[in-house]
Subunit: 149 residues, 2 copies
């Protein structure tokens, strides 16, 4: 029966399940940062900028594993908000370095406790599985995009 099979696919599809979880988790972290005017994507980007320290756009994109052009647009909002600034690298004028502003660093410090709380809730929701193990599973799926035509 076709209908039965279709319903089975809906619950079985690893892609759909991962996306649904992704949307829910995004909303969860977004709520944690909402009153700071910060999104989870922006938080991730800020931590990457601070972690690397004035990366190029390409290096930052690779770090957060998004398309370079997506990052460009996300950064433009963050520049507009005064959290980061771009500068042309003196050694190679093709390169734009991304730097955290004081306001960005302050915001990140405000956001960190919220992140810890949201992260703790997510860990609790996962139950007794080791979070590291779970991230390993996600990492396996992530590599589906790598070695492909």
């Amino acid at each position: 029966m076709k209908r039965k099979r279709a319903r089975k696919i809906a619950t079985e599809c690893l892609g759909a399940a991962t996306q649904r979880a992704g949307r829910a988790v995004t909303a969860h972290y977004d709520r944690a940062f909402a009153d700071l005017g910060l999104t989870s994507t922006q938080f991730t980007t800020l931590t990457a900028v601070r972690g690397i320290g004035s990366p190029s756009v390409n290096a930052l994109a690779e770090s957060v594993r998004t398309d370079r052009t997506t990052l460009t647009r996300n950064l433009s909002l963050m520049v507009r908000n005064g959290w980061v600034k771009k500068a042309t690298a003196p050694s190679d004028r093709r390169v734009q370095t991304v730097e955290l502003t004081d306001a960005g660093a302050a915001l990140l410090d405000l956001a960190l406790p919220r992140w810890r709380a949201a992260q703790a809730e997510a860990r609790t929701a996962l139950g007794k599985i080791n979070p590291t193990k779970f991230r390993d599973l996600l990492g396996r799926l992530e590599r589906l995009a790598d070695a492909r035509p």
Copy 2:
């Protein structure tokens, strides 16, 4: 040291990890359907429509667990492509029922083998963990969005 901690957050954050995996998995399934002019989201929606059978917009949105307004816009593309059509329910003129067209059903049949192949690859990527168990973990995260203010 702040930089060290920031780098730790980037790898540790369950939200970021889930989103990265979601993007990669989406790309994986999208590739499988690409030459049909179909996206993974649209495939999921089509299977839900067939599984339920002429659902209302609200029922369909709940089934695929996206915001109702998001579904409205996604459906408009699928209506434009001739895969589904909307009709006002006779019993309640507020309700729009979503119906699969013949073209939509035919497309879905073409897409099914591609889905099975992509699904098999995803399962392989996961390694030896039980896919049902993995989906259960994703479901736990999904419920983070539920019982909240």
